[in-house]
Symmetry: C2
């Protein structure tokens, strides 16, 4: 794949935009580290308008110049190093540098990773710069090389990332489901915005290597993925919520059963979980998903939004399939 | 077994004493509900002086008279009903009632189940009343019929409960390891003493039935049990602590991955766990175990006791193998 693409820019600058995503069935564990090949398929929902926009061009100066949200990033910053290592795959000459300007519309406080939309936007900008006119499948594979979940940010809506089986990863890419779901809402609750003590990347590796329980995780994913696709097709919200919450908590369970234990939850996470479960017992149809961190994302339907706003005044509500109705939200 | 024993009392009253225990490798999941046959073996340490003392006799009045810590228990109380159902196995005549007087020296606040020592003391009292002169193995099997972990409270010290394989459960009993460990301490930290929202019994069943991850639990137990026995034989404290903590957190992980999720932890549990992990990072050799509840039990050696007292002023310290040294503890 990388051998086939041109590295001769067709225009002076390329631009790409990609949306963030949150997995309803998580990507958790790699079968190959270098290529970010996952052990299982996963399924996400995109979080428009949160995402990344990237513009890039080439320069004759050695080294990359990277700006993030208007701020020049030092070359030895972990962010710059990760980006430059990825850009090594695409340099016209070893000495060529890229000039990269990235804007994230993901509030840092939302507790959402920006690497997914970030690497997807970067790949789309490269496609624009070099005028590859690549298929979404190819772009998804390229984005995956930067960050696994970036494979899912090339397209939008409900997105399935197929694990694939090939060693070269050419069958490990994401594509959109045809179904949509106007009225579906995601509520972002910020619990703790301090930097994570363990990166998701590290947590994933440590879990695979040390958790006995992890060996049953792929069976759960098989079951959850099928159940989620049915729930989406039938717009069965309770099934969607139940399976997504079960899946997210089970992912955290694999970490809790790692050694040393990985527990991203803060006291506030627990308090919020218990609040949500109490609400659900009272009949409010709301479910939870969480990534590898302490923050909580709610799943609910539009008509529950006023209640959610009341209980969680700081919630940020995203409506992936419909522009928000200002009267309801 | 039950067919062979006499139900004719040899004396007017029988008495039994048994100590509480806490599992270092947990009993979690049954292969048979009626007989409390476990899916896996388990290993515990007894918590002398915490335990139960029971005296019982027969009366001609129908129905049992049950006193717990000096208080007459109503016959329809769940405690009385469970006891009477168990005593049904031993009545000389269907109409015979037992007079039972039980004292628990387990502070309710310690977050320790009293059913283990309670049923063990009851069986020992029955043995005394009927003068069966049963072997510890037989008594362990009988106690198991009342409450699974009671099988481990018939004997003391480090105790292994063999899962067994027979359908009749006659090979599922507990016995003491020969090893002891003077200097080993257990610290009880009370986090939340409110009644549990879900009983351990129910949590166990729900976990086995709904957690995908549970299917890997028996492999972990195999590994942990062997590692704990080695650690005990070699008095390797770090290995003992590591394996016991990993085992306990993994048991909780199987519950968190059940549906609906079972999360016994309160915000205070999380705060305490993070405190302990911080202490350990600072070089303090202290580990955690937890039963199906929010409370935390520390594992440490005698020379760490002053530090533990300082950090957790409310801790109750138990020294299973040695009388506490008042200067140190």
């Amino acid at each position: 794949l990388l051998g086939d693409i041109t590295r001769k820019p067709s225009r002076s600058r390329g631009t790409g935009r990609a949306v963030a995503n949150i997995a309803l069935c998580k990507y958790w564990g790699k079968r190959q580290l270098e290529l970010n090949l996952p052990r299982t398929s996963s399924l996400s929902i995109s979080l428009d308008p949160l995402g990344s926009e990237t513009t890039l061009g080439l320069s004759d100066l050695p080294g990359d110049q990277i700006r993030l949200n208007g701020r020049e990033m030092p070359p030895d910053d972990p962010f710059s190093r990760r980006l430059s290592r990825f850009l090594d795959l695409f340099r016209p000459a070893e000495t060529a540098g890229f000039v990269v300007e990235t804007h994230n519309t993901i509030p840092t406080a939302a507790g959402l990773a920006s690497s997914a939309s970030g690497f997807a936007a970067l790949v789309l900008a490269l496609d624009d710069l070099f005028q590859w006119n690549s298929t979404p499948r190819t772009l998804s594979i390229l984005a995956r090389l930067g960050s696994g979940s970036a494979a899912r940010s090339i397209v939008s809506g409900f997105v399935e990332w197929h694990a694939g089986t090939h060693d070269d990863g050419l069958d490990s890419f994401a594509e959109s489901l045809t179904d949509t779901w106007p009225g579906l809402c995601i509520g972002l609750i910020e619990v703790d915005t301090r930097p994570k003590p363990v990166s998701s990347r590290q947590a994933m590796t440590d879990t695979v290597n040390t958790s006995f329980l992890y060996s049953s995780w792929p069976q759960q994913v098989d079951s959850d993925l099928a159940a989620l696709k049915t729930a989406i097709r039938q717009r069965n919200f309770d099934q969607l919520g139940r399976v997504a919450e079960h899946n997210a908590l089970s992912m955290h369970a694999t970490m809790i059963s790692a050694w040393p234990p990985i527990l991203y939850w803060s006291p506030e996470t627990i308090r919020t979980l218990h609040t949500i479960w109490r609400l659900r017992q009272e009949g409010v149809p709301v479910y939870v998903t969480m990534d590898a961190g302490p923050n909580i994302k709610l799943l609910f339907l539009e008509d529950t939004a006023p209640m959610i706003r009341e209980k969680f005044p700081k919630v940020r509500i995203i409506t992936p399939f419909a522009p928000p109705d200002p009267d309801t939200l």
